[in-house]
Amino acid sequence: MRNKNIKFPALILIMLTSLLACTKQEYTIPDPVSQLTNDCIKRTIGPSIVSLPLEFAYAMALPKINGKLVSAEVEASIAGASGTFLEHRSFYTNSSGVDVPVTIGTPSTTVDKLTKVTFNVDTNASTLRYNYVIPEEARGKSVSFTFTATSSDGKTATYKMGPYAISKMAIKKNLAVSNGVNAFISIEDMAVYNATAAATNAGKVDLVYLYRATPTTFTHALVSPGADAAYLPGVTLPSGVNRSTKLRKVFNLQDRNLSNLQYGIYVDDIDFTQLDMVDMPNYALGLRAEAGVWVETTDKKYRAYIFVNSINAAGTAVISIMRYTL
């Protein structure tokens, strides 16, 4: 009798639970936007490096009955370098997947930290791209952005982005080196010198580029001036060029920025801080196109990653450098 009394309510409870669990949740149409709204995405991925751009897409819209867009502006916490702008064209993607621009105003003006575009067409929706060129003063700091849209009914909408950490790395791309001519590389200056300039900057020359067809494993090489003479065959070093730089060969590390946006790999600050350069040699022989070399300067002031963009059997190569100050 007691069991019966328990079983019946339990059965009812289970049935009720099942019924509730199966209740269909009706889709409700969201309330239409009744005022000026905005949204923003960061389009750039990878580390934020000084001199390279950070790109955002800023979208704003308001109901037609409320009026039209009047202006859009972005305020950066640190003023952008030359080349910073807010697009005066709104892009849409056509059926072929091509981004098509529609001009909505005059080109943006930038005053200190503020970049502004004033609309001169009657529109109530727009997506503008913001291109922020990272300035030198932002190195090692963080930067944030405030996007603001203003409509003709006097309303404003604001969207904050960031903060974004700016890398300590410096980048220099597509430096041409040639055997016996422009062969002296300075990590500190991120430059390539000929013998005359190398003699003038003797204390800054970290590497010598050379090419030897034989032995066949030598070919394109980066050798420290302080390396054994066997690795500098036929090379006469300018007076005072004698630094001994540690090198570590790498393969399959095609940084996207150094390889001119070809790959999806990024070298970042952490790679330099965690790099093990203990007992590394002061020469790297047999370099190939798209190979790389980690570098640590004699004074341990800099670490760098040198990427070989291309090589030429005539004894020339194009290299790109990413440098990290320790």
Binding site: P215, T217, F218, A230, Y231, R248, K249, V250, F251, D279, M280, P281, Y283, L285, G286, A291
Partner: protein, 132 residues
């Protein structure tokens, strides 16, 4: 009723004790299974540089009777930072283990790696001779 319950529990406990005391398959100090295999040799050898690209100038010559591995490497190879790779007979292991970059720069004193058979009863030392 209680009596039956006690008996059942006792049987269950005894079963658990018996099962837990059952000897597992034998493993060595590295947690590797000790098998009955007696084969004990190096079947292939590779030597990689810091960029994980081979530094061999030719195929390594493995002499399983003399127990030597002779490798010629490219001129300028930095032997302080290389990664030796051994392919061994089934179930064998290597002593010392290769756990990362290895310094093989002392050519006057070639490094010796011992291959241990699957049954862990046979040990064969291989001398790694490197020359430019």
């Amino acid at each position: 009723m209680t009596k039956y319950l006690k008996i059942t529990l006792s049987i269950l406990m005894i079963s658990v004790i018996i099962v837990s005391c059952k000897k597992d398959s034998p493993v060595d100090e590295d947690g590797l299974l000790i098998t009955f295999r007696q084969e004990c040799f190096v079947s292939n050898f590779e030597l990689l540089g810091s960029d994980f690209v081979t530094v061999r100038a030719a195929t390594a010559v493995i002499d399983t009777l003399a127990q030597t591995i002779n490798v010629t490497v490219n001129p300028g190879t930095d032997l302080k930072n290389v990664y030796p790779q051994f392919t061994l007979a089934t179930d064998c292991k290597l002593d010392p283990k290769v756990i990362g970059k290895t310094d093989l720069s002392n050519l006057a004193s070639p490094k010796i790696y011992t291959v241990v058979s699957g049954n862990r009863k046979i040990r064969k030392p291989y001398t790694l001779n490197i020359k430019f």
